[in-house]
C-alpha cells in the first residue's frame, strides 16, 4: 500500500477531529455531573396517579422556590423496590401508604411522612365504547356475557395500588373470576389508562388521571366506583433519608393550601377522607 493510498483512507483532518472529540467528551460529561453537584436537582418519585396533578403542582413550586425538580412516575410498589435497590430519589409519594410505611420501618426515610390525600377509582371508557357507565358495573358484567367486552385494562395488582383496588372492586361486584380472560395489565395506572383508551373497551383507573385535561380529550365517559367497594387508597408522602432541605419544602408545599387545592381539582379527597 502506498503512502498516498493510506492518506486517502485516513485523512489527517479526520484523525485530528477524532482526537478532538476524544478529548472533548469527558469534559462534557464532567461538566454535566459537576453541574448537578452544584445545585442538586430534587428527585421526586411518585405514583402514576399523580402524573398530571403533581406535574402541575411542581411547576408552581419551582416558580416559587427556584428549585429544579425531576419527576419520575411509576407504580408505588415499583418505586419502593427501586429505592431499596439504590435509586437516588429524595421524595416518594405513594398511592398506598403501605409502601411508604414499609420503607420508613426499614429506616430508609426521615420519619413516617404524612398523608396528603385519598384516591378514588373509576371506570374509564374510550369514545364509542360499547360499555355503559351505569354506576354499578352491572353493564360490565353483562358485557362479559354478550361479547361486547374484549379487553378491560387495569394496573398490575401485584405492585400497583390502583390495580389492587380495581381487583377488590371487581371481586365486590362478583366479576373477578369471569373477567380474567379479558384483563390486560398496565405496568402502572397511567399505562392502564393508556391501554383502556387506545386498545380496550375500558379500564379501571384513578379518578385523578380521568380528570386531567389531556385525558379528558381522549375520554368517552367515566363512572366513579363507590369507595366502599375497596380498601381506602391512603396516599402518603415520605422524605427519603439524606434528602436536601428542598425535599421538606416540597412536602410542605404539597400539604399547604396550594397543594391541597390542586390535588382537590384532580379529584383527590382530603387526607381525612
Amino acid at each position: 500500500m502506498t503512502n498516498a493510498n493510506r492518506d486517502r483512507l485516513i485523512p489527517n483532518p479526520a484523525r485530528r477531529r477524532l482526537v478532538a472529540a476524544a478529548l472533548a467528551l469527558p469534559v462534557s460529561v464532567a461538566a454535566r455531573t459537576g453541574g448537578a453537584a452544584f445545585g442538586e436537582p430534587l428527585r421526586v418519585a411518585a405514583a402514576a396517579d399523580l402524573k398530571y396533578a403533581l406535574t402541575d403542582l411542581v411547576q408552581r413550586f419551582e416558580a416559587q422556590e427556584r428549585v429544579a425538580v425531576r419527576l419520575t412516575f411509576g407504580s408505588s410498589g415499583q418505586i419502593a423496590t427501586q429505592i431499596r435497590q439504590g435509586a437516588p430519589f429524595h421524595l416518594f409519594l405513594s398511592a398506598d401508604e403501605r409502601f411508604a410505611l414499609d420503607l420508613a420501618e426499614e429506616g430508609r426515610t426521615e420519619g413516617k411522612g404524612g398523608v396528603y390525600a385519598q384516591g378514588r377509582i373509576a371506570l374509564a371508557l374510550p369514545p364509542g365504547s360499547p360499555l355503559k357507565a351505569d354506576g354499578t358495573l352491572a353493564d360490565l358484567g353483562q358485557a362479559i356475557g354478550d361479547g361486547r367486552l374484549k379487553r378491560l385494562a387495569i394496573a398490575n395488582p401485584e405492585h400497583a395500588p390502583y390495580g389492587e383496588r380495581a381487583r377488590q372492586a371487581l371481586i365486590h361486584a362478583g366479576l373477578w373470576e369471569a373477567i380474567q380472560p379479558f384483563l390486560v395489565f398496565g405496568e402502572n395506572v397511567a399505562q392502564a389508562l393508556q391501554f383502556a383508551l387506545s386498545s380496550a373497551q375500558g379500564g379501571i383507573v384513578s379518578l385523578s388521571l380521568v380528570k386531567a385535561p389531556p385525558v379528558q380529550q381522549q375520554l368517552g365517559g367515566f363512572d366513579l366506583i363507590p369507595a366502599q367497594w375497596h380498601t381506602p387508597l391512603i396516599q402518603r408522602l415520605v422524605v427519603v433519608r439524606g434528602a436536601p432541605p428542598a425535599a421538606h419544602a416540597l412536602a410542605a408545599f404539597v400539604f399547604g393550601p396550594t397543594g391541597r387545592a390542586i390535588l382537590a381539582a384532580y379529584g383527590f379527597l382530603p387526607p381525612e377522607g
Partner: protein
C-alpha cells in the same frame, strides 16, 4: 421532543462508543491473531449480549450492582458509588450490550488481513505500532467506522436494559426510548411521534451508511 432525553442519549452513545473503540480494536485484533484454550468460550461470551434478552442482562446487572446486593453495597460503602439508577450504570450496561457489535466484527476484519502483508512490514523493519497504524488500521478502517455508527445508533435506542438498570429519572437516566415510552403513557403522542421519527431516521441512515461502506470495501 424532549431535548434533555435526546442530549442524554447522545451523551450515553458517545461515551459508550469512546470506551468501546479501544476495547474493540485491541480485543478484536488480539482474538484474530491469538489462539488459546477456551477461545471459543470467550468468543461466545462476547457474542452473548446480542441474543440475550436485554431485560435479562438488565436484571443481572440490577441484582449484582443494586445496593441490596453484596457487590453493590461494597461499591457504595467503600467507594461511595451507586451504579444503578445512575448514568454510570447505563454506560456499563451499554458497553456490555454493544460488545458483540464491535469486538467480533473487528476480529473478522483483522482476520481478513493478508498475513503476508504484515510479514512484509515486519521484514522491512517497521515497529509494531507502525504496522498497526500504517498497515492494519487502513485495512480495517471501513469496518471500524461502520461498527461505530451501528453501536452509536444502537445505544441511542436501547430500551430494556436502560429501563431495568436506570429507571426513568429525567436528565439522568431517561433516554430517548424511555421518553417515548413515557410520553405514550401520558397521551403526549406529538412528542412521542417526533422522537420516534428521529430514531427511525437515524437508524435508517446508520444502516445505509454501514451497507455503503461494506460495498465500497468489497474487492
Amino acid at each position: 421532543m424532549e431535548w434533555p432525553a435526546l442530549l442524554l442519549s447522545l451523551e450515553l452513545a458517545a461515551v459508550t462508543l469512546l470506551i468501546l473503540l479501544p476495547i474493540g480494536l485491541w480485543g478484536g485484533r488480539w482474538l484474530a491473531y491469538h489462539s488459546f484454550p477456551g477461545r471459543a468460550v470467550v468468543e461466545a461470551l462476547l457474542f452473548l449480549p446480542l441474543v440475550l434478552p436485554p431485560t435479562v442482562l438488565g436484571y443481572y446487572l440490577l441484582v449484582m450492582l443494586g445496593t441490596a446486593a453484596p457487590l453493590g453495597r461494597w461499591l457504595q460503602e467503600t467507594l461511595g458509588v451507586t451504579l444503578v439508577f445512575h448514568f454510570s450504570g447505563l454506560v456499563i450496561a451499554s458497553i456490555l450490550v454493544n460488545l458483540p457489535l464491535m469486538v467480533p466484527v473487528l476480529q473478522r476484519s483483522f482476520e481478513a488481513i493478508d498475513p503476508e502483508l504484515r510479514l512484509a512490514a515486519e521484514v522491512i523493519g517497521l515497529p509494531a505500532w507502525r504496522i498497526f497504524w500504517q498497515v492494519e488500521l487502513p485495512l480495517v478502517w471501513r469496518t471500524l467506522v461502520s461498527a461505530s455508527v451501528i453501536t452509536f445508533i444502537h445505544t441511542l435506542g436501547e430500551f430494556g436494559v436502560v429501563l431495568m438498570v436506570g429507571g426513568n429519572i429525567p436528565g439522568e437516566t431517561r433516554t430517548l426510548s424511555i421518553a417515548i415510552y413515557d410520553r405514550v403513557q401520558a397521551f403526549d403522542l406529538a412528542s412521542a411521534d417526533a422522537m420516534a421519527f428521529l430514531l427511525l431516521a437515524l437508524s435508517l441512515g446508520a444502516v445505509t451508511l454501514s451497507f455503503a461502506l461494506a460495498k465500497r470495501g468489497a474487492p
